[in-house]
Point group: C3
């Protein structure tokens, strides 16, 4: 495979590009291949100092945030916005985010991304995690909401493109989560798309680069507001089991597949799910479609990598946050002690890495939406659903 | 009105000017109109990254801090310094300020401004605020000293000048205080002065840009040290009632109108006051004058907007902070639960805005000081004082 | 003495140089005098925004961190690395360090320096310090690990060189630790080396620039990993008394003079020591040498200034931190209340300054190492050891 690679940041040798841009034109690629990748630093407000990498494959655009743990800020597909309108105007530089603030929920100060990782050591609500070490010692650690990875900067950033078909366009970043006496966990993330594709692919490696075994957690918090979300929009997935996190009204639980209008509820709803995967390779998908079933987005992932799925519904007003989260994870965003008890904490041995893939697919034609829903039906049929 | 406007920052479209300067000369204004406005970013120390806008109307100069919630850092009028010498050398970038630090008083790490707003959701001491929601739920929120607004950056910054009489010179900034699941409150601040004027006018709009009603608090912490403050300097206002916050020695309370020399007391004194306003429009004023009554500064404001006034006296040594604060507010800087109980928390409905005006007037001639004191006497007479 | 001085930062007059470099060549010094000093700002990752000053005397190189309280990041002598490999990849900008985080040990998020100061108001573990004021009041203050000085930026930075023998090369920085109602303590640090010398000299003044007496603490946390540290490496000093901080296995305590290989222990060991000084001037030294006694580093200091010495041993794996700390201090890194009780807190009167000197000497020849060990033996003999 012929490739071209640019290193934008590498703290180990002092590489850092203030700005960067490359395009299919620069590389004399075929006329029907159109893409651009560019990097710059935002200035002013809470954005000041945030580095962004903007990728445009001709139809699909998205913004990668090296300054925020390689999250995806916002995207759009043929003009259809992907992401949501948070009451926080971001992307927010982590310098404005104080994780332990407000009893451990400071993470919300920076929360406005389309796709944000929760983890890597911990995710879920704040509190004092207590456990017994393999040596039998009582241990404890104060945790903050959804962990640290989204508020850590990449120490390495690269753009890599294929100069022959399928002309993949990738942004690669490394983020380290570590300090003395604590686990040392590294994220190596690659996000790839292809010219005119409606898809992007996140490929993450989470490595224990320390000398002791470490627990880990990872959840992809994928957030959508209008135009996909709206009154009558639908959530579909091949659900094996769904459990409300709290005691919601029965009618809310019955309506978990559909959405009310903005402002229709002040209470968030969270459902923990097990999904069905293709029996051959355990791949599955989760879909959000608009009321008219004309537009949709699908998340595709392996149950072997991300076995647990969380659906978050928050029908606040448009100003307060009208949003749903589709969240494949290594576990559920319960408090970590509970996840440990239930056996849903991953453990990485020294040097060991776990791989995670998440594919995001956007559709803006009814035919595409129908195929997705048909695919879910088939998965359910396959399992005798 | 003919105006000229420059946008220096607008995060919604990526506008950001590294530096800016404009002057009456650039606009071919009449020869006797002299002003300059300039913006730059400080470097080094705790100041690194702080944007400042410096305004000079020919006689009055002041520095606006977009990086610190549109506070006013320091000023001077015909060479007379306005502001104080804090033991913190600022202006301090909020990145060095950790609000929850030291049990919630981290705000002090950045406190060296002449005029700093406390608010917008809360002001006053740190602690756990507890209340019952309109729906009857028990709620609580940890608060940090004096709230968040002074350590949030402007997302919008504009300079606007009138190109005909009275040739007003304005700096406009917007600051947002919000995060998911929390109130969304926006400050739109305009500070205006006029060529050769001894006055500046703060005009603030505080808007609930969220979808739920929200409580709010605002206090203008206006701080003065030498040369205005000194042994024998005086505080004057048309006081209807004054209450010491704590049990101070009787002689201290009797001397609340006057000031001791630097280092004469290690304990701060705080007095809560109700002032008298003009019966027609409820406008009032508070004055600090030097011992010789040759220099003074007056704050003018509407009791309908800022009904409560706090006087802060701290006669620390010059190195530790020798300062007095004249503080008109929507309430007193008590702990928020108490202010709620006493009915001094404002409530803004969704979309609603409250307006606040604060005028600052500097005098460096005995005649001007006399007129101010006479004005206070007349207000008191009007009320049968 | 003929000198040349460059001011790189002075926040009091807005001086700030983005980059700086000077060399012996620029000054037409004699041919055998070779040195360079340069300053730049790192970009990317946790380093983004960290200013570094690199000094090279021809044989000894080191990096000063104005952004981190004038600590020394890393050094090398004739190719022998001085410092250690922390699991944190630094130097880390303090904006990424949240001191009260994780129950007060956020300091570790930025800990990767060769020589880092702990202090100035406090050092040692986090917790709530309680005491009674001279006025008999009960007081308390929450402390974070090792205090604030290492995460505060210099407000003043200068390079000064002698243009005649001995051609000293100095980097001077001032760092202020203060806020309203708290002690105001200033560090004026000078680090000096000489062409082709194996020595650097830290000369610190710690000044109470406030108006009240203040307690203070200072500890030089000097950290070493390979190549000096390794299995069989040795620690030597004229020890009068050594006390383990905790109950370690007897064999560990017996072996306190030597080191195990990386990963040989997960538990840190800390020894509190009193050293013997030369009877004439109370100067002493502490030495770390490699297994072969071919390389060593010596710290030299006055017991009148730094009477207490702490040895820190942490034989984590190479990935987790394999490191030893040689730590002369004004006291031990116990919790501050205990240090006060034992009379090991310094007190500075208003305006008073305390001076501290720490000399670091590197050797990469067996002869040099032998002389150091001989010197220690003589000190011990002098005291009848």
């Amino acid at each position: 495979m012929t490739e071209k690679t640019w290193t934008l940041t590498d703290v180990s040798d002092g590489t850092w590009l203030e700005t960067f841009s490359a395009s299919s034109r620069d590389l004399n690629l075929p006329d029907d291949v159109h893409w651009t990748v560019s990097k710059r630093t935002l200035r002013g407000g809470l954005q000041d100092g945030v580095e962004i990498v903007e990728v445009d494959n001709g139809d699909l655009r998205f913004t990668v945030l090296p300054t925020r743990g390689m999250g995806l800020w916002k995207g759009s597909y043929r003009g259809m916005a992907l992401g949501w309108d948070s009451p926080v105007r971001g992307p927010v530089h982590p310098r404005w985010v104080n994780l332990p603030d407000r009893e451990g929920i400071g993470w919300l100060q920076g929360f406005d991304e389309w796709i944000v990782r929760c983890g890597l050591y911990s995710m879920g609500p704040p509190g004092l995690d207590r456990w017994t070490s393999p040596q039998g010692e009582s241990r404890s650690a104060p945790l903050t909401l959804h962990g640290r990875i989204a508020n850590l900067p990449a120490c390495f950033l690269q753009v890599r493109v294929e100069t022959e078909s399928p002309y993949g366009i990738s942004v690669i970043g490394h983020v380290e989560e570590s300090m003395l006496f604590y686990p040392r966990i590294e994220l190596c993330s690659t996000v790839t798309t292809w010219p005119r594709s409606n898809r992007l692919l996140l490929q993450d490696q989470v490595r224990n680069s320390g000398g002791q075994p470490t627990e880990m957690q990872l959840l992809y918090h994928c957030n959508f507001g209008p135009p996909l979300l709206g009154a009558g929009a639908g959530f579909r997935a091949p659900i094996a089991r769904a459990t409300p996190r709290d005691a919601y009204p029965a009618e809310a639980v019955r309506a978990l597949h559909t959405y009310g209008k903005p402002g229709s509820s002040r209470q968030e709803e969270v459902y923990f799910m097990e999904l069905l995967g293709a029996s051959s390779h355990r791949k599955t998908l989760a879909v959000l479609h608009d009321r008219a079933r004309e537009k949709a987005v699908a998340l595709r992932f392996h149950l072997s990598q991300l076995p647990f799925f969380t659906l978050w519904k928050y029908a606040g007003s448009e100003q307060d946050g009208y949003v749903t989260g589709l969240e494949p994870g290594t576990g559920y965003p319960n408090f970590r002690s509970l996840e440990r008890e239930r056996g849903r904490l991953g453990v990485l041995q020294p040097g060991e890495a776990a791989s995670f893939e998440l594919e995001v697919e956007a559709h803006e034609q009814p035919a595409g939406v129908s195929l997705l829903l048909e695919e879910i039906r088939q998965l359910q049929d396959e399992h005798g659903g």
